[in-house]
């Protein structure tokens, strides 16, 4: 495998993607909504409402499931602090798993299925670039920007959360903490890869990028389960759960990427155009 060919494919796809508003728009706006708009709205309400509010009622069962150390810490907090703490550190966590998944599958479906749909794949496959160089270049062009927007979203979110916690917790900054670092740099990449692998598999079967994208949205289901599971107090995104998630997605990654590589054979791609 020649790395310069991988980078060549990566740069070519990146140029195409960069100029495609239908891709850039969702990949940029959804992270901003999740990391800036929604947090501002949800966090500013308890912040402005002050101590009079007791919104933690809804989180009662979630709080009870938290590790005892965190519970101890929270026992000393005011209602307002508790609310902000819960929302900032727990409630929003699953959203940061949606970001890499959504971004990577939008990018991958354009790079894999889109290239087939636009019929540019034929000239590409006629070149001496090998299947694995193509596969890796296209995986990278889906992975790198997806992780970039995830990291950026996390940075913006941290700024907002810290700005509020700074004033509410008397100079304390809540982010980053261990769980969130694991989430962003451990779970998010494995989820992004799972999204890419699944999209590659689907892209081999469907005609266009749109179908590929819609089907790979299936991976959102486990994330929504997490979201609601946490809201109901059934699961807590603590270090153990996060480690388990990483393990789970590493297994999924290995599986879908193995299948994806097996399906990504130039000879198959054009035969199956029909």
């Amino acid at each position: 495998m020649k790395m310069e060919n991988v980078i060549l494919v990566f740069m070519k796809d990146w140029r195409e993607i960069r100029r495609n508003w239908q891709i850039i728009l969702p990949v940029v706006t959804i992270p901003i909504v999740f990391s800036v708009f929604l947090p501002l709205v949800t966090l500013l309400i308890p912040y402005l409402a002050g101590t009079s509010m007791s919104a933690t009622q809804g989180f009662e069962s979630l709080i009870n499931n938290l590790p005892s150390q965190v519970q101890l810490e929270m026992a000393e907090m005011t209602e307002q602090q508790r609310t902000i703490y819960m929302i900032a550190l727990y409630f929003f966590a699953p959203f940061f798993l949606i970001i890499p998944l959504m971004a990577s599958s939008v990018l991958a479906s354009d790079s894999f299925a889109g290239e087939k749909e636009r019929k540019t794949i034929e000239a590409l496959l006629a070149t001496p670039i090998s299947d694995s160089e193509l596969f890796l270049g296209k995986t990278m062009v889906s992975f790198v920007p997806a992780m970039a927007v995830t990291t950026l979203a996390f940075a913006l979110y941290s700024v907002i959360v810290n700005a509020i916690s700074f004033s509410v917790f008397g100079g304390r900054m809540l982010l980053p903490n261990l769980v969130w670092l694991l989430l962003i740099f451990g779970v998010a990449p494995t989820i992004a890869l799972a999204g890419i692998g699944l999209t590659v598999i689907i892209s081999a079967r469907v005609k266009g990028a749109r179908e590929a994208q819609q089907i790979s949205a299936l991976l959102l289901i486990p994330i929504f389960i997490l979201l609601f599971g946490q809201a109901s107090g059934a699961v807590v995104l603590g270090p153990l759960v996060v480690m388990a998630l990483i393990g789970l997605f590493v297994v999924i990654d290995a599986l879908v990427i193995y299948l994806g590589v097996r399906l990504f054979h130039r000879e198959e791609i054009l035969s199956r155009l029909a």
Binding site: E4, R15, T120, E122, A123, P128, L270
Partner: protein, 322 residues
């Protein structure tokens, strides 16, 4: 000494599920030759080119291109071959130059100044240099076609597959493509496999060709051989001031005359003969001697088009390899 052929196929076949797109195709193309691949829509021309360019695997049979086996040495074949695919297959969001640059690098042109010079040379040849920074999406159909041909030539390949190169081109551009193919094959010994529906292109460029129909080879050979397969001999067409019974009778009595056809209103007499070289002078002399006033004499041969149509039809009626 017979050198290895540039392209050789033996019993090449392709099935898509139960549908047979190409069936038992065997032909040879030698170096520097422009070989035509002719046939009606859906005959299997594009499928054949795709197999030879190692884009899809054959279901049966074998082939070698540039001395490499398409099944065993696919990457070597790809390096040595330039392909104009049926769809222009260009990145529409990239500019003409960016397209060329990507493919130049993909084909291993690492040296930047050489690469730039090559791209410039090709884009100038195809009149696209002034539009090099425009995105391909803004190009007309013919401009895209030219850019796709330029791309196929980027690494100066010795074997070039052209799938309908002149489709969508204006007469002048079509001619410049024909001239280019002619020049590259004659001066630089490049080998071309040319798929086309324009019989004038085939007639002008291809020394030999294969006609395929429904995936099967119907006939292989030079234009002359193909013509002879459908109709032996030629037609001498003599335009007279006036068609006279006496003239016709005289001609009919000559040796080696297959048939005489007359058209009184236009004054045309069409004489079918086996070999025009030896007969024409004698025919003309006897027409003049019989008092015929000759305005012009033409030797007509069955056109490639006639030959093509007949060969394809014949095949359809019989449904078997001739």
């Amino acid at each position: 000494m017979p050198s290895t052929p540039a392209i050789e196929t033996i019993g090449l076949a392709k099935r898509f599920n139960s549908f047979t797109a190409v069936n038992d195709l065997t032909f040879k193309v030698s170096e520097g030759e422009v070989f035509g691949l002719l046939g009606p829509n859906g005959a299997g021309k594009t499928t054949t080119i795709r197999m030879l360019a190692c884009l899809i695997p054959p279901s049966n049979g074998s082939a070698s291109v540039a001395g490499y086996d398409i099944a065993k040495d696919a990457s070597k074949v790809r390096e040595n071959v330039g392909v104009l695919t049926e769809n222009p297959s260009l990145y529409e969001r990239l500019t003409a130059y960016e397209n060329m640059e990507f493919f130049a690098q993909a084909y291993g042109l690492a040296d930047q100044s050489k690469r730039n010079a090559r791209i410039r040379e090709l884009l100038e040849f195809f009149d696209l240099w002034s539009r090099r920074s425009d995105r391909v999406v803004t190009f007309s159909k013919g401009m895209k076609q030219k850019l796709a041909i330029a791309r196929a030539l980027i690494h100066n390949p010795h074997i070039i597959f052209l799938d309908e190169p002149t489709a969508g081109l204006d007469p002048e551009s079509a001619k410049s493509i024909r001239d280019l193919v002619e020049r590259l094959s004659q001066q630089e010994k490049h080998t071309f496999l040319l798929c086309t529906h324009r019989l004038e292109d085939a007639e002008r460029l291809c020394r030999r060709m294969i006609i395929i129909n429904k995936g099967r080879g119907v006939a292989v050979g030079t234009i002359e051989e193909l013509r002879n397969r459908v109709e032996r001999g030629h037609v001498i067409e003599i335009a007279l001031k006036e068609v006279d019974r006496k003239v016709v009778e005289t001609v009919k009595r000559l040796n080696h005359i297959l048939n005489v056809d007359t058209n009184c209103s236009s004054g045309l007499m069409r004489i079918s003969v086996e070999d025009h070289d030896s007969v024409t002078p004698e025919v003309v002399r006897s027409v003049v001697n019989a008092g015929g006033q000759v305005l012009s004499v033409n030797v007509l041969r069955p056109s490639l088009e006639e030959a093509y149509l007949k060969l394809v039809k014949k095949e359809e009626g019989r449904g078997q390899l001739v």
